[in-house]
Structure formats: C-alpha cells, structure tokens
Symmetry: C4
Amino acid sequence: MSKGRLEAFSDGVIAILITIMVLELKVPAGTDLRALRAAAPTLGVYVLSFVVLGIYWNNHHHMLHATERINGAVLWANLHLLFWLSLVPFVTNWMGEYLTDALPTATYGSVLLLAACAYIIVQVTIIRAQGPASRLQHAVGSDVKGKLSLVLYVAAIPLAFVGWWIADALYVAVALIWLVPDQRIEAQFREASVAQTPARREGFKS
Amino acid sequence: MSKGRLEAFSDGVIAILITIMVLELKVPAGTDLRALRAAAPTLGVYVLSFVVLGIYWNNHHHMLHATERINGAVLWANLHLLFWLSLVPFVTNWMGEYLTDALPTATYGSVLLLAACAYIIVQVTIIRAQGPASRLQHAVGSDVKGKLSLVLYVAAIPLAFVGWWIADALYVAVALIWLVPDQRIEAQFREASVAQTPARREGFKS
Amino acid sequence: MSKGRLEAFSDGVIAILITIMVLELKVPAGTDLRALRAAAPTLGVYVLSFVVLGIYWNNHHHMLHATERINGAVLWANLHLLFWLSLVPFVTNWMGEYLTDALPTATYGSVLLLAACAYIIVQVTIIRAQGPASRLQHAVGSDVKGKLSLVLYVAAIPLAFVGWWIADALYVAVALIWLVPDQRIEAQFREASVAQTPARREGFKS
Amino acid sequence: MSKGRLEAFSDGVIAILITIMVLELKVPAGTDLRALRAAAPTLGVYVLSFVVLGIYWNNHHHMLHATERINGAVLWANLHLLFWLSLVPFVTNWMGEYLTDALPTATYGSVLLLAACAYIIVQVTIIRAQGPASRLQHAVGSDVKGKLSLVLYVAAIPLAFVGWWIADALYVAVALIWLVPDQRIEAQFREASVAQTPARREGFKS
C-alpha cells in the first residue's frame, strides 16, 4: 500500500485546519488600537495553535519520510490523530474567547494531550508495520521529546485550575521543545547516505 | 486517463468536508461544565460524521488502489458520490441541533443512504471500466458489507419516527461494520504479490 | 515548467469552492417539513453550482491532460479563471436567498459568463504555448459547446429581468450541454493510442 | 529531503486562503444595485488580496522549481511565510469593512510587509541549503523587485494615516510590479536548457 495518498490526505487536513482557524478571528469592531487590542488574546492563541499544527505537520513529514510500508492499521491510527487535531480550532476559539478561565484552558490542553497520544500511536503502528529494526524505530530512539510532552500536558491540565497562565506557559514550553525539527531522524538520514542500511544493521545489535 | 487527479480531487474534497464540520461546532457560551455539556450532542454527531467520512476516504483509497483504468463515466460517478458526501456537514449540523427530533435524524440517514448508493455506483462504474474479471471485482466479491449497510439505512429512516435513538444506533452500527478496513482487497493484494495476476486467473473461473 | 503543481493548485481551489458552498446552507430553523422546504431554493441553486464547478473541474482535467507545455502566461490565465470561479459561492448564496429576483439571477449569470470567457482564455493560452498543431487544438476543434455556452449566458442575463425562471432554465441548459465529458478530447486520445502522433500529423494538414 | 510535500502543503494552504476570503463576502442585503454597490469596497479589497496571494503562489512555484535541496530550516521558514499569509483574510475583512480608516489600512500593509520579509527569508534559507553558486541565487540576482516591494510597503504604512488611498495605491503598485511572472528565473531555465549547468558555471565567476 502506497504512502502517497496518506501523506496527501494528512497534508490536506492539516493545511485546512491551520487556515480555517483564521475564519474565527472576528473583524475588530472599530478602527482604533483599542479594537485591535481586544482581538489580541484570540490572536495569541491563534499563533500558538498555528505553531502546534505546524510542528505536527513537520514531524508527520519526517516520520513518513522514514516509513517504507503502511497498512490498514496505520490509516486508522492516522485518522485518529487527525480527529484530535481537527478539534484544535474548536478549543482555540473557546480558549481565545475566555483566556483567563480554567476550563477552556484545561480543555485546550486535553485535546493537545490526546493528539500527542494519537501521534505516538501512529508512530508505534508504523514501526510495527516496518518489521523489526526499522529505520524509524532507530531514528525515534527512546523518544524523550514525546514522553516529556505528555508529562508537561498531564501536569498542565490540573494546573490550569490553579492559574491559567501556568498551563499556558507549559503549552508554550512544549511547542518550544519541538520547534527544532527532529534532529534524530535528519541525522539518521545523513548517516544512511554514508552506509547504505545502517539502521537495519545497528538495529540487529540492539 | 490517469487516476492521480481523481484521487487528489477526492482527497481534497473529503479532507475539506471532514474539517469544515468543526467550523459549525459553536464555541460554548460560558466556561463551566454545563456550557461544555450543552455542546455534547453536536460533538457526538460530529464524531459519527468524522468516522463515516473517514470510512469513505479509507474505502475510496482501497478501491482506487485496485483500479487500473478510469474513464469519463467514473469521473462523473465520483462527483455524484462527492455531492452526497458534501451534504454530510449540513445534515450533521441539523441533527446535532435537534438531536431528539425525527425529521433531522431521518434526513441524516437519507443522505448517508444516497452516499452509500453513490459509492456502489462508482464501484460498478470502475469495475465496468476495467474489463471482465478485474482485480477490484474479485476483491469486492458479493459485497456483503455494502448491501448490509443499505438495508440498515433503509430500515433506520422510518424507524427515526419511532425513536430517534433507534436510527442513531443503526447509523453507529453501520460505521462499526466498516471500521475494519476492507480485508478482502488487502487479502487480494497479499495474494497478488505471490502469484502475479491471480485475480485475473481466478476471475476467469467464476 | 511542469504542469503538476498547476493541476494540484487548481484541484485544491475547485475542491474548496465546491465544498465551502455547503457552509452557507443554513441549518433549517425547525424540525418539520416546512423548515426543510424553506431551505429548498438554496439547496437547488447549490446543486446547480456544484454541477457547474464539477463540469469545470472535469473539463480542466481533460484540457491539461492534452497539454504538454505550460508557461507564465498559462499560470496567470488559470488564476484569472479561478478568480471568477471563486465568486460562484458568493453569487450562489445571493441567488439562493432571493431566488425570484432579477438582479441576483443576472449577477449569477454574469459570473458564469466571465468564468466561461476565462476558461476560453486559458484554452487559447495553452494552445499557444504548445506550438502550432497541438493535440489540444485538434481536440477542441471549433469548440461549438464553448461558443454555445457564451451565447446562452449572454442571452440569459437580460432575460433574467423578463423572468427569473427563463434565466435559470438557460443556466441549467448550459450545464446539461456540458454534463457529457468532452468526447472530442477522449476520442482524440483513443486515436492517439493507435497512431502515435496523429494530432500533430493531421494538424499540419488543416 | 524531498520538496514534493512542501510544495503540496504550501499549495494547499494558499489555495484555502485564496478561497476562504470569499466566505466573508456577505450576501448583499437586498436585490437592487444599491445593495450590490454596498458590497463593492469589500469586493475591491478581495480582488487585491486574491491577486497578492496569486502572486505569492506563482513566485513560490518558480522559487521551488529552481530548488534542488531543502532541509528543516526551509520547512520552518516556509511555515513562517504561510503564517503571515494566513492573516491576509483577517486584514482583508477589516480593511474591506472600514475602507477609509487609517489603522485597518496600515495593518493590512503591515501584514503584507511581514509576508514579504518572510518570503525573502525563505529565499535566503533555500539558497543557503543549495550550497554556493546555486541556480536560484543566480536567478534571483540582486532581487530589485523584492527590495522595491519592501520600500513601498514601509512607505505605505505611515502614509495610511495621511490618506488611506495613498497606501492603497501603493499596495496596488506593488501587485502590478509582480504581476509579471519572474522573468529572471524563467530566463535562467531557458538558458539552462542550452548549456547544462550555466548557473553553477557563471556562479563561480561572480
């Protein structure tokens, strides 16, 4: 089964999600700076969600680049990921409208947590489809970033009820962790261009 | 005629449909659990429609994978399918807003029934374009799932006037039937990788 | 310059246009047949516009299939076509809301007329980019359908002020003319598969 | 790393942006010419933004055509460009609603200025990824158009507070400068088809 259409469909959905959020940015009701400032919280949350979706697209790109085989399970795991991502515009709007309230902030984090879990499920499903010692498994390694993200989201959700800005700071922190493109996979590819199948070779050792 | 652009266009339309439904999820009017619970029925119908469209994308993917030739009739049959799918967000919103009413529930089922019919028409049109004993025809076989779906939808529409939850249960049942990716076609491909053209060979026998 | 991205971009824009029209279909305000019937005119215009955009996608597909070379002029002519198509949802909504009024009906026709002109401009620009005796030019021939469409639109616009249904009947008539995929180009390809470059050969004669 | 998915994702986002702007074109409240004329300013700004986004798509197409290698930095620079472009529908609506006010007009220009800067960043990042004396660097040359656009936008923003129409005239002027597709790169390609790698050869001289 070819991965081309899976990439195209995922690209389509993420491209739409990243752009339809802007539809919810309401035109400022006036023409002075005060009207523009009233739109600032929504704009801020919009920027965060744009970066988060951009990170997902970027990592998805890297992950599928290191993928050779997909199957029906991968298709469904991927749709499951897209489902949680599709709720990002919804929670972005809610949090943007009620920036200083606990529940919208915690709900935003919950959706991001579930999306992060869904991403890990996709990763595991793809690795299982590649057979033992796959290039992706080697590249992902112990997945420190992925695990750290989960921990930070799990911490942020209850902390939203202590202070909305604590949760928001953690959401921004997770984004910053990922803003660097996945060096592990890129490094893997550079290595791969020297020795033809080092992932497979080194994989057998471990 | 190449199937590449047909796939790309269908992917585009389904990706857009699956994501614009979220635009209709209204931001909860408040920040307590009650406000979030008020959005629950719409969210529930959204999940169902997301799964239904995901199934269509998935099956469409498998169907075109087993397709070698397309023609003008296939293009139009496919547009006819996309038309009924394009009404899914419309009936999703109506049913989400009036969850316990008969007519919106029955209309939702009618659109899904017509989409299911349109899918079968695409399937028949593609099989006809492949010539006798095509790989797709062999893979589809007697199409038990497809026929069962039609029966369940036809039953659900009048039953919506008896109890909205009966119809909804049937809609969920159809989704569950299809959630498993089409094993027949995948099995077909595994087989095909052993003996080069078994579909054609076995097709002549039947 | 490759035509791949031009196709992808056009597919994207047309796929979005054909689906965002559904966003304007307002949820019926009620749950009885009367509420559904109130949505009927908008739904009817939606069906017409869906078919019109489907025809454009279909013909665009055929046209680019017969294209070998594109250049900067083709890119811009294509964007010009997409501009007029992008106004279709706008005039669809206006006409759907005021079905029996002259000006919205005439405006709808004007946008379709300008889109039809833009399509012909794309066609001419592509033919010019192919050099003399191109396969597309041979396939298009005297373009009877294209010219007839222009005549019917030009007639429909003033007739909208006599009776809205006359103009609407003409819009439907143009759609019916085109619903058959462009046999000329398909025939051309069948021919081409027999003798390798008959378009070029026969083109020199004419 | 392949550039295919970067192109596809960018095409997707730009195609969506160029079409969702039309969703904000409100249906005229009436059926006479006065109602249509009330929609004229929004329509005018819509046309300008459509052309601006069309130019970006066109130039992006040319730029990636001359690109051989991309890396993680290019992916992020491209997402940064898409971010600023994604705000175009937002500022289009604001300016369309308050055409004669200074702040919306200046904000519109600011977003275009930041998008223009982001485009230059993408260009520089790609050129750096190609290694010295790349085909793109040769094609871009001294980038007079790019620099002139920045100057005009920087001038337009404060001038919006003197007269909204001065800023608008400058925005239109920048669009006109770019409407011609990038001759430099096209020329480069024609040249390249004569001598195999003239960019590289001539690049070493400079």
